[in-house]
């Protein structure tokens, strides 16, 4: 029985139930499930046709859709019968895990579940069209359960997607900020890609920690791979340079693109504090000079 109250149809349905009502809602559901089991092949077939008609799940083959449809149908009916959604939830998560890598979109998953709901509702209309009051009661039992199923599947799918996205973000974050030691007391921090404030903060933390653990005296930050940065991040870069100096390390920034140079000039960076060299090679050479290294070829030593 629906928990919603106040709509006129609910009231009508309830009064009908009081007047005629011989079956409890669970009985109605049982009848409903029996009907869906009986017509399983037919309804499933119709559903699959509707899916391909509306061009959903285009990333999957016909056979795959059919196999998946069968198990979705069975889980759906089972959830209707037992009103236990845990199994369905687990199935939805499992399904999402399999189809997300194939590029299935949220609207497709929600779409097919809603299609199934409609197909089943139509079959109920067809079956009870002569007994309008009973149809009403059946729908009262069916609709909340069906909506909850649709909700469960959609939420399961979205949660799985978010989990995947979070996982990937973490992987990118871990990969994206290596602090490398190239010589005793010389660190290199190559930055590639877009820097957002969060990544900038993480970069700084990692660099400052790296300076301490490696006892670095000179750090080369190479931003050749950064096309542009906004004012906030540029400011952050300058702060990173100053913080490194407080730890006793000199920072050399290399590979500034014209756009970034423009940004730094616009925010009025004190260039006396920033040690910049055109490319990474030049940066490393300058760092070696600061550290007192000199690279000579073997021929020169002879």
């Amino acid at each position: 029985m629906s928990k919603r109250e106040g709509t006129s149809r609910d009231l009508e349905a309830r009064s009908n139930l009081e007047l005629v009502g011989s079956e409890a809602p669970s009985e109605l559901l049982r009848e409903l499930v029996a009907h869906l089991r009986q017509n399983r092949t037919l309804l499933r077939e119709e559903w699959v046709v509707r899916i391909s008609e509306t061009r959903l799940l285009t990333a999957m083959t016909k056979e795959e859709i059919f196999a998946e449809a069968t198990s979705v149908y069975d889980s759906y009916v089972e959830a209707l019968e037992t009103e236990a959604f845990e199994a369905l939830q687990a199935y939805a998560r499992n399904l999402s895990e399999r189809i997300i890598p194939r590029g299935v979109e949220t609207h497709e998953v929600v779409g097919i579940v809603l299609l199934l709901r409609d197909v089943l509702a139509r079959s109920l209309f067809a079956k009870y069209q002569t007994d309008f009051k009973k149809l009403n009661r059946i729908l009262d039992a069916y609709e909340p359960a069906a909506n909850r199923i649709a909700n469960t599947v959609a939420v399961g799918f979205v949660q799985e997607r978010e989990r995947v996205i979070r996982q990937q973000q973490e992987a990118i974050r871990e990969l994206s900020t290596p602090v490398l030691q190239v010589r005793e007391r010389l660190l290199i921090l190559p930055i590639i890609g877009v820097i957002d404030p969060q990544r900038a903060r993480q970069l700084t933390e990692q660099l400052l920690r790296g300076i301490r653990t490696n006892r670095a005296k000179v750090v080369v930050i190479d931003i050749t791979g950064v096309a542009a940065m906004d004012v906030t991040v540029a400011n952050h870069l300058v702060q990173t340079v100053e913080a490194s100096r407080l730890l006793g390390a000199t920072v050399i920034v290399t590979g500034l693109s014209p756009e970034i140079a423009q940004t730094l000039v616009t925010i009025g960076v004190d260039l006396g504090k920033m040690n910049t060299v055109g490319d990474l090679q030049g940066g490393i050479e300058q760092a070696e000079r600061l550290l007192g290294y000199k690279v000579v070829t073997l021929a020169e030593t002879r």
Binding site: E205, L208, R212, R215, Q239, A243, G248
Partner: protein, 120 residues
């Protein structure tokens, strides 16, 4: 809590403890500026490893110490600023301009030794 000032060769070393009041900092400044000439030191190291917070007063005092010591004819190095403290300071705009900093006591001593050698 008073900060002890140690003499190590030509260098004076002052090591901060965790919680220092403003009065302690003032006292340290006076002590260092007096001692540096009295003991004929050429360098001063202020070790702030134990400080997990650096407010504007502390950082201004450090800067003043460094500048006053320079006027008294010696060189100051601030050592042991923690990474988190360093970034917090920079965000507050406390960048200790014109003050030499080093990673730790060892680095600070190495810097001063090198400096003395160059000027000898």
């Amino acid at each position: 809590m008073e900060v002890p000032i140690l003499k190590q060769g030509e260098v004076l070393i002052a090591t901060f403890q965790a919680a220092l009041s403003d009065a302690d900092l003032e006292h340290l400044r006076r002590g260092l500026v007096q001692q540096v000439v009295k003991l004929r030191s050429r360098g001063v190291i202020v070790d702030v490893t134990a400080m997990d917070v650096m407010d504007s007063f502390a950082s201004r005092t450090l800067r003043e110490i460094a500048h006053m010591i320079r006027l008294r004819g010696a060189e100051t190095v601030i050592v042991g600023i923690q990474p988190e403290v360093a970034f917090a300071m920079v965000q507050l705009g406390l960048t200790l301009e014109d003050v030499v900093t080093a990673l730790d006591l060892e680095e600070g001593l190495a810097y001063l030794t090198q400096k003395f050698k160059n000027t000898d």
